[in-house]
Symmetry: C2
Subunit: 468 residues, 2 copies
């Protein structure tokens, strides 16, 4: 073919492609609005989280219930008729909670409600008893004189602020994750924190903590907010108050768990992937309803509504139910590693892991020059109450490492004003989920996944960390 012929054909093709793009966009918008209606009229999402919480319940990574959850997920996804259902092994550390008891023993006996932080070591079998060194924050503990902490139980007494965004959690959670190291470096015999939670319930909030190889490992626990109030009031009366802790958690090696995956095969670009994820594991004290049974239900039901369409979207929609998020994003990291070669084919990824509150905004992390077009494409979501936000998304815990690997992400922002009332407590149960709000989430994820799976916008390259 001669050069001018090539150019002409190209021009025609481009012209017809553009017309085609517009058609695709119109059809996609129309289908997205129908998907919203379908999802809002369906109780599939609620049925899924009901099934997971009732038939499995708590499913701590590495525990026997974790494997029961994996089997549940394989069966549920298979029964829903996805094009592909498979699982990928993930090695996860085993941590067993054991018992956790605490009481003030002087100047008066007062039993306290505590819980071991995830990963904590045990106290000596007979427990330990010491005075209390109270700090307003992790930073205050880090700046303390060692002689004020030596031989005592460090107590980080920071309240968690309530925000729709959940940003209060970020401000206080350092005390949970880093407090044991900071306390041990000053010579503390244990650390107890005020729960990272916005409630006034007599329940302690667990969550993962970390040790450092060169620092002694000391027991780490959280106490409920009312108990922290009580300890405060006692310390104001008598700074020599004694706290007794008895905890028997243990680390017990490793087990194989699985990322469980389902796919709606793309119609024309089946190798390209729109990933919507959630994590299958949960903490062990509730039934893992809002964290993250809701997410499992939301992304599974959203994909199922797409699976049921007569014409599938261009790209493959992949549901990933991650293993072992709670104990350190283990499944998310394993996925990124196992799918390294395939990551360039990941068009965009998003994880639902913030409960079951309504989605009020969608943010993205895409190439800056593509952002306006992406927002335009996602605009049907506004009919479902989802505003178009910014381009600063992180995508959710298990996909948070993907932008650095070149994969665009989106964050569908949920109303989290009460999320940290229940998060990581025995109170994380089904009754905390509003079925209507859950359905709104399903609709939003269905729209997001469908629109992205048909999108003609180029989202990459992402700015690198150094450019940012």
């Amino acid at each position: 073919m001669k050069p001018y012929q090539t150019a002409l054909l190209s021009s025609l093709l481009i012209g017809s492609l553009s017309a085609c793009q517009t058609q695709v966009e119109t059809a996609t918008t129309s289908e997205a609005i129908k998907l919203q209606q379908t999802a809002l009229a369906s109780q599939l999402g609620y049925d899924i989280v009901e099934s997971l919480t009732v038939e499995v319940g708590p499913r701590l990574a590495g525990s026997p219930k974790d494997i029961i959850a994996v089997n549940w997920a394989m069966e549920k996804l298979t029964s829903l008729g996805f094009d592909r259902v498979y699982k990928e092994p993930v090695q996860v550390p085993i941590w067993e909670r054991g018992e956790a008891k605490a009481k003030i023993t002087f100047p008066v006996e007062q039993p306290l409600v505590i819980t071991a932080l995830g990963g904590s070591v045990a106290t000596p079998a007979g427990g330990l008893q010491a005075k209390i060194a109270r700090f307003d924050s992790l930073e205050a503990l880090q700046q303390a004189k060692p002689e004020d902490v030596q031989g005592k139980i460090a107590f980080i007494d920071q309240k968690t602020e309530r925000h729709i965004t959940g940003e209060g959690y970020g401000k206080s959670v350092g005390g949970r994750s880093k407090g044991a190291v900071a306390a041990a470096q000053k010579g503390a015999v244990a650390i107890v924190i005020r729960s990272i939670g916005t409630d006034h319930d007599r329940m302690a909030h667990t969550g993962v903590m970390r040790y450092q190889d060169d620092v002694p490992k000391i027991p780490a626990a959280a106490m409920s907010n009312p108990d922290a109030d009580l300890v405060d009031a006692l310390l104001k009366r008598n700074p020599d108050a004694l706290l007794e802790l008895q905890m028997s958690p243990k680390n017990a090696g490793f087990n194989t768990s699985y990322n469980v995956i389902a796919e709606v095969t793309g119609n024309s670009k089946p190798n390209e992937i729109v990933l919507i994820g959630a994590h299958l594991d949960s903490w062990d004290e509730g039934t893992g309803a809002i964290d993250d049974g809701a997410g499992v239900a939301i992304v599974t039901a959203a994909a199922k509504h797409i699976q049921d369409l007569p014409v599938k979207p261009a790209r493959t929609v992949r549901v990933v139910l991650y293993a072992a998020e709670e104990i350190g994003l283990v499944g998310g990291k394993a996925y990124a590693e196992a799918h390294k070669a395939e990551l360039p084919l990941h068009y965009i990824a998003a994880e639902s892991d913030f409960g079951a509150g309504r989605i009020y905004q969608i943010d993205t992390k895409v190439n800056e020059s593509a952002w306006t077009e992406v927002q335009h494409a996602l605009s049907p979501m506004s009919f479902n109450g989802v505003a178009l936000g910014n381009n600063q998304a992180s995508g959710g815990p298990d996909v948070s490492m993907l932008p650095a690997l070149g994969v665009p992400v989106a964050s569908l922002r949920q109303d989290g004003h009460d999320y940290f009332d229940y998060h990581h407590t025995p109170n994380d149960t089904l009754d905390k989920i509003d079925p209507a709000a859950l359905a709104q989430n399903v609709a939003a994820y269905a729209q997001f996944a469908y629109i992205m799976a048909n999108s003609t916008v180029t989202l990459t390259p992402l700015v690198t960390q150094s450019e940012k």
Copy 2:
């Protein structure tokens, strides 16, 4: 003196008494309004309940903490400078909670949150496991065929309705108090009830239960509302679900506790008594803030505001902090017995035992012909948001036996819409008390006690039960 002279003097005296009465009423009204202002501006009530919950905390009748509470009360009342402070011994049964664990073991393991009901016996040391016979109510259990219950764990699954009056409690509490007898009569090996509570927290509500001498004693527990939901959902899937219970409570004899009493001595009729009471004991899982630390604080602070007046009212205001209410009105019954001879001198009695919600109405139980006058006398309470109600009061648990013994009572009705969210759970802690609402209660009790201690209305005789 000649008859006509006597008649004249009488007439004059009556005339002057009437004028005097009017003066007394006006002065009383004026003082009652000042008392309201004093009480609302004071944080004495909150300081008292803070002190009791922090310095004593849980104080189960018959336990070592019960005696600590008695000592606290003696010291607190003495330090407040009442005219008289004393205590009267009460024999109370000792019940120790031990541990209570439960889980569904089939078709899937699901740990449940339960608590032993007060007075329950233990399971065998290794626990017990059985199928579940579920009933909508105590009545349904009582009407069941024995073959449907025999060898099973009876489960009364009645939800408690939310009302400002707390009347939902009365509708469902029979399952707690009488369920064990009904279940054992049908051959059940244990009984578990849905908690008598209006919350959705993962906390079980304890409370006293009763056995009957001629019926086998079986273990009795309550499970949290979310757990009852879970068991329901499991039973719908599989009626052969198995429940395992392990409980180690025990009854351990008797101990001496005390009704603790303080008095503001009456100015002109010191032998006549206006009794305002609350109970000092609490269940052991919370710190007894709303039940009944609030009541202790309310009546103590109310009496203290009267104690501080330059001129005391005519009658003695007696604060009674009852022992062992929770386990069967033990202190209330002991008081009625010990003060039998003095009961005719009890002008009126009222107990504060319904949390710390605002008082919206005052009801009385007085002679019908006196009711209008009493309502008129109490009308200053309306300035504090307290409406005048009816003449059907019971007076509160520990004074509920007094009307039958001829003593008038009053019920100062509190807003109880959230009382059964926390009642008898670990969540009964100080943070559930609104200091402003507590002060409104103090003001209402101060006004009530002062007005009644000065009242010139004759409240007796009460109608007898048969007349009613």
